[in-house]
């Protein structure tokens, strides 16, 4: 059978993993694909000592790959937005299939890219864009195709999970662990995307689209990072039977979809609470299948390249197939996407963990309780410490039942007005992930 000839653009970490897997596991891949998957052309500004490109055609101009008539599939691994977008659109215009690991590109420009691909009758595959080697795109688009997805929640940024794991296991402070993560190569020199939750929001926007059949709407995701999570909160959460994880959550709510990335207290017995270090996991709740969970390495050269190569094998298995019948880019066919609106953050529903500093005197607790109760919020648990010698303020921790975010916002405004309570109140959402 005719081989599938691929062109690789970029020769960074994931690309080196891709070259190495295609070389090492050649027999497995051919056995599964039914034909050879061969590297026809590599475009990279410089070599990478992590992989051997001897014998391959290498161009310094990545666009030479896209224009190579011998290339059937372009593998975009340069990252970033603008050049990557030009490259992918050029590849599509040239009638080539595309495989990419670029979550930012798909989350931000995916709708345009998929439309262009559909018009040309080619596929754009992006399994590697979410949760690295975990085949989560395939699981949701194909494996759970029978289901009306009710919600999904994922630890989809390994750097953030590494930091929170270290904070919990070793009582270390955020800044300290971040520096180590950077030294270990888990976090970028500029850690903004990881720490502020932007990377997780990119991935969540993609997951939500394929789960609910809605267009990509990264710009509407509510995003909080982990920089504000303190060791104190990690410890109080533990005392209450919870762990703090940085989750991306997408959930049907009424006639809309919640799209949110934020630190979340989850019950310590939950399987996903036991996902540690740089590992990723995604839970998906379908109306037929119930809860399923997918776990694995969310980053790294070969785990991510594992997903890139899986996409190549998929393409090899269906290259001659009828474009009309292929798995649609967003799981649902373009004319069947629906217009569920993304819910405004004030309409979110959640339970809450609150930590405030309160004066240790009679009446404070009842004043706090009254404000919370007036907003129709009920208290699930409360921790109040005896003051240490000489201290006039004590930490007060409140765990509420589920309520609407707008009510909590209103309660927080009133609580901050209390003279006996500090102006700063820590608020972290709580999710049992059980329904």
């Amino acid at each position: 059978m005719k081989p599938v000839r691929i062109g690789i653009c970029g020769l960074g970490t994931v690309a080196s993993g891709t070259v190495n897997i295609l070389t090492r596991n050649c027999a497995e891949i051919t056995g599964r694909a039914g034909c050879d998957v061969i590297i026809e052309h590599i475009g990279a500004r410089r070599d990478n000592p992590l992989c051997d490109t001897t014998g391959y055609k290498v161009s310094r101009d990545i666009f030479a790959v896209v224009d190579d008539p011998n290339v059937d599939v372009v593998v975009e691994l340069i990252g970033g937005y603008d050049v990557a977008k030009d490259l992918v659109l050029k590849a599509i215009a040239n009638g080539k299939h595309v495989v990419t690991a670029n979550k930012a590109l798909i989350a931000v420009h995916g709708n345009e890219i998929f439309a262009a691909a559909k018009a040309q009758g080619v596929s754009v595959c992006y399994e590697a864009a979410v949760a690295g080697g975990i085949p989560i795109i395939k699981a949701v688009r194909e494996g759970l195709a029978a289901n009306r997805v009710e919600w999904l929640a994922g630890i989809i940024n390994g750097t953030g999970n590494f930091i929170l794991t270290e904070m919990r296991d070793k009582g270390r402070a955020f800044d300290d662990v971040l520096k180590e993560a950077q030294a270990l190569g888990y976090a970028e020199a500029d850690p903004t995307f990881d720490v502020e939750g932007i990377d997780a929001a990119h991935k969540l926007a993609i997951l939500a689209s394929i789960a609910f059949g809605i267009p990509l709407q990264f710009d509407k995701a509510y995003t909080e990072g982990i920089a504000e999570v303190s060791t104190v909160d990690v410890e109080f959460a533990e005392e209450l039977g919870y762990r703090i994880k940085h989750l991306g959550i997408a959930r049907r709510q009424g006639a809309g979809v919640e799209l949110r990335v934020h630190p979340t207290l989850i019950p310590e017995k939950s399987l996903i609470a036991n996902v540690h270090g740089v590992m990723n996991a995604v839970m998906v709740q379908g109306d037929a299948v119930g809860t399923t969970l997918y776990y694995g390495a969310g980053a790294g050269a070969e785990p991510t390249a594992s997903a890139v190569v899986a996409d190549l094998v998929d393409l090899a298995r269906g290259l001659d197939g009828d474009a009309e019948h292929r798995v649609a880019a967003l799981g649902f066919h373009a004319d069947k996407l629906n217009d569920l609106p993304i819910v405004d953050a004030e309409q979110f529903e959640s339970a809450y963990y609150l930590r405030m500093s309160a004066e240790d005197k009679p009446g404070v607790l009842s004043a706090v309780a009254q404000i919370i109760s007036e907003e129709g919020i009920s208290v699930e648990a409360l921790i109040q410490r005896e003051p240490l010698h000489g201290e006039s303020c004590v930490p007060m921790i409140i765990l509420t039942n589920r309520t609407q975010e707008a009510r909590m916002t209103a309660a927080l405004i009133k609580l901050k007005q209390l003279d006996s309570v500090s102006d700063e109140i820590v608020r972290i959402r709580v999710d049992a992930l059980d329904a």
Copy 2:
């Protein structure tokens, strides 16, 4: 686009779930498949109050479905070996695709069935045959297609896991929990397949084939059930930091594959040790992706039907595709299957948990230790209790390092010959599932 017309054979639990999902989630399924998936014909000896078949063509002769020229895909949900095999082969001969949830059928007759399907250019899909709603067949055949799979290990029998979970959580005895499982409908009236590990071995044989690219070899699987697991061992395992789970394990070893189903001590911190009740989970270790884990409901009407319908959507997406290019039945194309032999049980490698009753007198421990050492086995941990008042024998628990099963067998023969040690020695394999 032309609808896909299915014929359902059998109207038991999974079939009722399939009918209900196809009805309820019609819009989702059409949106994903790109065409309607409609029930054309149902063959069942009797109705099922769990689903409404009003308006559907129903025949009391299931073979009428297979011979119906309007049926594109036959969904075999009658279970069992013989009639199911005839039905599926007839469907294939009639040029119809087949979807089945029948693990026994695939494990035992799969090689013959897949060969017939290949000759006819039709597909036989069996996602529902392993781990219910978890898309594990898809994950291994497609999602991990880049990998040389090193091993996989799964909790793939919900009944067994329910029993072991109850034994651990509540200190209940095996027989007691089994009766409850039967009352709850988790276990069959004849629980042999669940309790003796045959059901798990069916599923393991399937998983091993698609992971390693070998023909189905259910008859070569080493199989131990859970009936011999006692509460005492569950408790000692706990004390040593382990949980006992009934695992199916397939692992490359030298130039062969270990294929084994047995109770296994696994470290309590391992994610899979925290899979409770009737839930299933499968860990897969690939050389590129590292460890991944897939978790969800392994049985039940709608979870299993979720997988049946996913197969239908897959077929709908590729019905007009070229048969040569489809995902091969066993992941690897038939001419690329390899002949890795299944390793004999005496060649297995494992660590071991041993529990024996030993006389409480000097020299016993050293005699035991000497025998173990003579076989080249080293001891990882040991628990010896003080005798209760009036008892002359005490339990002695030994955890060994990894060794070859043949050495352990030899050591056990010698240990049983010791006058100071009971003739019955409990031996449970230990697996850290970490490499």
